[in-house]
Subunit: 344 residues, 2 copies
DNA sequence: TTGTATGCGTTATCAC
DNA sequence: GTGATAACGCATACAA
C-alpha cells in the first residue's frame, strides 16, 4: 500500500535526464508529435511508464491554451433526463480525449452565474449548459463566447442567441401530440399543468397545447391552466383546486412526470377512475412512470440522442476553432414520441 | 449579444498597468492577502470587475500547487443514492470554495483506473471515490496517495487501506435488520438476492443476513441465495428459478431496490400475493419503491449524511495537509434504517 | 504596504 | 530529428 511522505512528482525533466535527451524531445514524444524517431519515442514512453510520469495538465494547459476539458452546467443531475444526457456526453467526449466538469446550478440563477465564472476561470475548452427555469438573460455566458469558447445550450435554451449552438427537444410538437392524444382518446375538458413561461420549454409545450385545442375546437379553461414550478406539491395543489369545482377536467397534461405522478396519486386517493374518468399524460418518460399503477402515458425525449448531438456539435465547433462562429448557428431539434400507457 | 472575434484575456498585468501598481500587489489584493491597503484593494477589485478579469486557474494552480478542485469517481450518477450524495458533496464543497470534477466509471475497472490517472493529471487537491463492484485491487489510487493527495472512499471501499479515509453505510446491520424484519413478520423461507461478493457491500449485507437467520434458527437454502450483478433481468431470472421449485420462498431480501421492483413485478404477474404469500424488502430507499403498488419496504442509507461526512472528513484532511496521514484512519460508519411499507 | 525577481511544468519557436 | 530557450499567468521569498 502507498506510503505517503512527501510529494515527488516526476516531470519531463526527470525523463529527459534519465534518457540523456532534452525536455523538448520528451514533450514531443509524449504528445505524439510526428518528427520523433520511433525508437526515441518508445524509449520515452517506457521511461515515462517506469517513472510513473503523468503530464501536469495545468502546465500543459497554461502553455498550450487548451485544457481538453469541457464544462457542463445542469439544474440537477438527479433529474432522469439530465442524468441520461450527461452520461451520453461523458462517454462521447471521453472517446475524443475530453474530460467533463459537471456542475449543478440547483436551478438557482446566481449559482449558474457563479459556475459560468468558475468554468471560465478553469479555461474550459467549451461549455455545455442547460439553464435554470429563471434564466432569461444569458449574458453571463458572454465572457466565454467573447473569449472564443464554444457554448452549447440544450433543453432550456436562449431564444435569440447568435453565437451559441442550441439543441432542444421538439417541445411544441410534444405539447401538441400529448394534447391531441388526450382529445383522441375522448377528453373534452383538458387541464394543463405547466412550468413557468420564462422557459422556452413551457412556452413551446403550451403553444402545442393551445394549437391542439384550437384545432379540435375545444375551449381552454383558464382556471385549468397552471404555470408554476413543476414540483410534486404544486401539482397536487393544482389538482385539489380543480377538483373542488363543479365541473372537473377529464384529462390532464402535465409538463413533467413528477407532476403526472402527483396527479395520479391524487386521483387514486379521491377514488377518481383513471383512465375511465380522468386521463393523465406526463412528459419525459421518467422510469417511475412505467412502474406506477396504472403506468403513465408520457412523452419520450430521447436523452441519448440529445447527448449524442451535443457531442457531435461540440466536436465540430472545437475543430473549426471558432471560425464558423460568425454565421448564425441553426438550432437543432430532436424529435419526441408519445409513449402510450395505462392512464389514457 | 457577444461578438466573438479573438481571445482577449485580461491578466493581472493589465490590472497592474491600468492602476500603476505591480502585479504582485494585484495578486495579493485579489487573494485577500492581509498586507494590502484597504484603498488599494478596493481599487484593484473595482478595476478587475471593470476589465472582466478572472483568475486563470491553471497559472494559479501551477504556481501554488493547489487547484481548489476535488475529483469524484462514481459508478453511475443516475443511481439515486449516488446522485444524492454527489449533490450534497457539491453543495458542501462549494461553501469552502472547492469545485468538484464528477466522473463516471460505468462500473468498469479500466475506466476507473483511467479516471484516477486523469484526475491525477489535473492535480486535484483530493479524490473521492465510490469504486466499481469489481475493484478488489486499489493500487491505482496509490499514485495520488503517494503524492500526498487525500483520498476518501465511500460506499464501495477497500477493506485494508491504511492511508485513505473510509465512509460507508452500516451494511452488516442493514442486512441484519432487513432479514430480521422478514422473520418477525412471519417469514420462514427467506431468499437473498445479493451482489457479487467481491464488494464489501454485499459481503457485509450477506453476513447480516446469515447472522439473522442463524440467530432465529432458520435454515439458509443455498439455492435461494444469489450473488450476481443486481440488475432487473438478473433478479427476474432468480425469481423465475426459485418459483419453479416445489417449495418456494415466503420472503425475499434483495440488495438493491431495482431487484426488489423486479421481484415484485414477477410476483404480480404470477398472481403471488404480496405481502400475503411473499414478503419483499429492498435496499436504498429509491424513490421508485414508494411509488410502486404495493410500496416496497426498504433500507434507508441516508445519502445526505454520507455526503456531509465526506465533506467534513475531506476538509479535515486538507487542513491538516497530510500530516495525520500516517496514523491509521478509522472507517466511519453511517447508520441505516428500516423503512416499512406495504410489501411486508 | 508595495515592488522585484524567480520559478511552477510544459510547449512553441527557433536554431542546429 | 533534436536541442536551447522563451513564454504561458500567477504567487511568493525577499528586498525596500
Amino acid at each position: 500500500m502507498a506510503n505517503p511522505k512527501k510529494a515527488q512528482q516526476n516531470t519531463i525533466l526527470d525523463i529527459a535526464e534519465a534518457l540523456k535527451l532534452s525536455p523538448a524531445t520528451i514533450s514531443r514524444a509524449l504528445s505524439g508529435h510526428p518528427y520523433v524517431k520511433e525508437k526515441t519515442k518508445n524509449d520515452v514512453l517506457k521511461m515515462a511508464a517506469q517513472l510513473g510520469y503523468r503530464r501536469n495538465n495545468m502546465a500543459s494547459g497554461l502553455r498550450s491554451n487548451k485544457t481538453h476539458t469541457i464544462g457542463l452546467i445542469v439544474p440537477r443531475i438527479s433529474m432522469f433526463f439530465h442524468a441520461e444526457v450527461i452520461t451520453t456526453i461523458q462517454n462521447g467526449l471521453h472517446k475524443y480525449g475530453y474530460n467533463l466538469i459537471i456542475c449543478q446550478s440547483n436551478d438557482s440563477l446566481d449559482m449558474e452565474k457563479e459556475l459560468a465564472e468558475i468554468l471560465f476561470s478553469s479555461r474550459v475548452d467549451a461549455l455545455i449548459a442547460a439553464c435554470t427555469l429563471h434564466t432569461v438573460d444569458f449574458s453571463h455566458f458572454d465572457k466565454l463566447l467573447l473569449n472564443g469558447t464554444p457554448v452549447v445550450f440544450y433543453d432550456r435554451v436562449p431564444l435569440n442567441e447568435q453565437h451559441a449552438a442550441i439543441i432542444k427537444g421538439d417541445d411544441f410538437r410534444g405539447g401538441y401530440i400529448a394534447t391531441t392524444h388526450l382529445i383522441e382518446t375522448g377528453c373534452k375538458r383538458i387541464a394543463h399543468i405547466s412550468g413557468p413561461l420564462t422557459s422556452n420549454l413551457y412556452q413551446d409545450r403550451s403553444s402545442g397545447f393551445q394549437q391542439a385545442m384550437e384545432q379540435h375546437k375545444l375551449p381552454v379553461n383558464k382556471i385549468w391552466v397552471f404555470h408554476q414550478e413543476l414540483t410534486h406539491t404544486n401539482a397536487r395543489e393544482a389538482m385539489r383546486k380543480m377538483f373542488e369545482g363543479e365541473v372537473t377536467p377529464d384529462g390532464v397534461f402535465t409538463d413533467n412526470d413528477t407532476s403526472a405522478i402527483a396527479a395520479l396519486e391524487f386521483a387514486r386517493e379521491k377514488g377518481i377512475n383513471v383512465p375511465g374518468d380522468l386521463k393523465i399524460i406526463g412528459y419525459s418518460n421518467d422510469p417511475r412512470t412505467s412502474i406506477i399503477t396504472p403506468s403513465i402515458t408520457t412523452i419520450e425525449q430521447f436523452p441519448d440522442e440529445v447527448g449524442k448531438k451535443i457531442v457531435e456539435t461540440l466536436m465540430d465547433l472545437l475543430k473549426s476553432g471558432g471560425n464558423n462562429v460568425d454565421e448564425r448557428i441553426q438550432p437543432i431539434i430532436i424529435p419526441v414520441q408519445l409513449i402510450r400507457r395505462m392512464t389514457t
